[in-house]
Symmetry: C2
DNA sequence: TTACTTAGTGTAAAATATACACACTATATT
DNA sequence: AATATAGTGTGTATATTTTACACTAAGTAA
């Protein structure tokens, strides 16, 4: 590499806002830091981008090293570049988000000793976070709240088979708003992206609900049309 | 500053996709580079972020130095972080966009000798661009195309007083789609964010159209409600 | 006065969104 | 066996929004 570019005493980092849904609660993944600064504080999983890796790659690697989660597809949503966001120098961070299924048991096993543990925490019950991570989280939450209003992304958070009530609860949590059951069902079923299964919920002490699956094929078709303004 | 953070032989940069609308055409601002690499190539206005300035600030400064445009409010839309996007080293760039009024005469007077000139170029007639700037432009265009579908941002591109036909043309250009005049007018007027003026177009060799103004107050109110899902 | 060019307008049909309440069913409890 | 409990599942009328579609009015230029 030539050196026409000025050197720059700064680093890029990645921070991840990973959403999960469990127990009727929307959660995000937090780590407990094991290093200064902010040792023993809670923080979003985040670390420094290596010199020779793309930021997308860095995001995947860092999430894996800090939480043990692999093969999570993330999208970037904002880059935070204020001068004093990190106490030790100039750090610009690209924030990524993802929504994943918790299947009851996504194991969290940090590889790096940079963190002492990783846990799922309800977004309604977040501790104080290191750095400007509260700001980053808020923007990530805003992002999915917006997105869910025009794309049915909620499925990514649910188990493969889910009931309409679960789906509705998830919408309600993300939108912070009660929805009408009949209208919600009508709307969702009208999208035509749900496949009704021949199965019912099990282990509940009341009438069991039908299970549904998300139909990816039809979903992609739906998104050809998108965007208002007919003619 | 302490030095616990690793040094990193890399730079942050900013690239700007600045949209304007003139003559029924959607344009963006390009510079001709006066320095290697890509000397004499066309490129998006972009340069390196200083150590002690926020990226938002850098965006403003860089746009000014490279094109002479001041006080343009920009939003970031994506960060490009592939490893080999710059031939001289690792450069991660935060891309910003803005939509501005051309008022016929936004003067372009580059301050920096890093560029030899700056010009407005129709998006339908772009030359080959330096670095990965074509990719950056595409994503920026996609961004405003999406955005205009749910937010009436088009006003930012028009002169203060405009006709409904001009507004419609702009929508058509951004959406690459013909729209129906009656439906378009109905919809726009229904938003209630246009103020009809007591003035007409001048200097046209046909029936002059009424002029309208964009009503910012009402616009913000409209955006309280936003987001579907009634109850 | 005529020809030309763009402005400006209405309506019916279809699709979508909203508001709203009660009976059904599976299980657990007595 | 009877009952309580808790969540499932459904229909309809109304309002709103979206779509398709074509002609007349106004101003200018010759």
């Amino acid at each position: 590499m030539e050196t026409l570019l000025p050197k720059f005493d700064s680093v890029f980092s990645i921070d991840c806002v990973i959403f999960g849904f469990d127990d009727g609660e929307l959660k995000i993944l937090l780590i407990e830091r094991n290093k200064e600064p902010f040792k023993d504080w809670w923080a979003l999983p985040g670390y420094i981008v290596e010199q020779d890796e793309s930021i997308d790659h860095a995001a995947e690697r860092i999430l894996y090293e800090l939480t043990g989660l692999r093969d999570i597809y993330m999208d970037q949503f904002y880059t935070f570049g204020d001068v004093n966001r990190h106490p030790q120098g100039r750090v610009i961070t690209v924030a990524y988000y993802a929504m994943i299924r918790l299947n009851g048991n996504k194991e969290l096993r940090p590889i790096s000793n940079y963190v002492s543990k990783a846990v799922w925490t309800s977004v309604n019950d977040l501790p104080k976070l290191a750095f400007d991570h509260e700001k980053i989280f808020s923007r990530g939450f805003e992002k999915i709240r917006n997105k869910i209003s025009y794309q049915p992304i909620a499925f990514e958070l649910l188990p493969e088979k889910f009931t309409l009530t679960q789906l509705q609860q998830l919408y309600e949590v993300i939108l912070s708003k009660k929805l009408d059951k009949r209208n919600f069902r009508k709307k969702m079923l009208n999208y035509g992206i749900l496949k009704e299964l021949d199965e019912k919920q099990k282990g509940v002490s009341y009438r069991a609900a039908k299970l549904y699956k998300f139909d990816k094929r039809k979903y992609s078709k739906l998104f050809q049309k998108e965007l208002t303004f007919g003619k």
